[in-house]
Amino acid sequence: MAYVAVKGGERAIDAAHDWLARARRGDRSLPEIGTAQIASQLGRAVDRVMAEGSCYDPDLAALAIKQAQGDLIEAAFLLRAYRTTLPRFAHSEPVETDAMLLRRRISAIYKDLPGGQVLGPTYDYTHRLLDFALAAESLEVTPLPLAAASSEDTPRVTALLDQEGLIEPSGVSTEAEPGDLTRDALAFPAERDVRLQSLARGDEGFLLALGYSTQRGYGNNHPFVGEIRVGEVAVELVPPELGFPITIGTITLTECEMVNQFSGSKTEPPQFTRGYGLCFGHSERRAMGMALVDRAMRAEELGENATAPAQDIEFVLSHCDNIEATGFVEHLKLPHYVDFQSELETIRRMRATATAATAATVATETEA
């Protein structure tokens, strides 16, 4: 079925967009919100848009949020569209999360561990009571307390397990060029590099729900949070004109390493397995969901029965991108007049045939 162009509606569309602009501005007796305020005070929203827009730029994400009236999926869509207008210069060196300037680092599996449990700016342990003091505005901001930073190293928690050989190695550290979804369309079976890229920009709600489904028994693998890290890492790249790596700036990342059960196999002794989550900005829910689903999708590789939705690589990767999903769902709003006309004709013909057949049957029965 070809699409048929229909003309008309320009005036209505212009008026609708005018109204949208006025609705976006809201009550004019109130000050207009600035993108710098959004970037600075709605940081978690900005982080989500950067992750799902798959483009790290807090100022652009803040602009997209303002333009989309806070609709974060629409904002991610705007950011994805913008990135297609820019040339790709290079790729970075893989970021070194070991060298992160940590604002938060926790482990749910070891109480006392080198580097300690650092809570950072967390909502955990808050009472989830609305704080009406925030509605009053002009809050005094008290300076943060400082403590002497310890010079202690903060080793990766999985490295502690690895010392005893109790966890699988995190895979061969190949230097092969990883697959890139922005260059090559998704193809199955998808390898872990492409799966991780897809999950890192996947919809947070989808990752959360699928991760939750594994905990509820649909592909359970007994996860523990080995470690969560939030902080700043340097981004390095090797410009061809220089031939050596240089730092180009710093980005905020959240990393989650899940430690999961594994019973072993004929060739492998029993050992823990890994699920990995890494994302732009501060978003533990996203990183944890990603790590749970990453581990679930490794079912087949680890010799488990892949029966649950989260273990179905093709199902997960085909549906985790909310830009694609919203495009296909929301396109249903666009005119389908011709499509529907043919459906109408078909159903009228079918009904006419059915009615005629019924009438014929009734007539036969009456005669009998």
């Binding site: 992750a51 798959s54 483009c55 210069f89 895979g171 061969v172 991780l196 890229q197 180009i248």
Partner: protein, 151 residues
Amino acid sequence: MLGSQAIEARQGWLAVLANAPLAGIEDCIARAAPLPAHTRLRGPEIGLIMVQGRAGGDGAPFNLGEMTVTRCTVRNAQGQIGHAYLAGRDPRRAELVAALDAALQHPTESAEWARTVVAPLAEAQKEARRKVAGEAAATRVDFFTLATMRS
């Protein structure tokens, strides 16, 4: 070809300049000798780089997502060529950093540029990192064991 010491020095100042805000760079330049005149060889231009991570933090690389970058290359009146690759979209900052990278390669004036521009910016960054580490340390959990009531 640069020796490893020269490469390390250049990596050092480029990292400091990459993490410095425009206002900070301009302040330092205002207090230093005037920058040699330069011509643009490329850019400043805005583009993207693909940021890579590693599975498990130390396994095989994967593409995490892109980030915006501004790059610029200049040649200054003294003949040095400077490069800048900076996170974000700021053509003015990229051009200044490229001009500074060129000036910092001057055989005799390099030390002076390092002292007047790079050192104060590096100190400010060190202080900022120290502050974050201190704030984080204040949220580090001190576990204690409750004394039992049994005699």
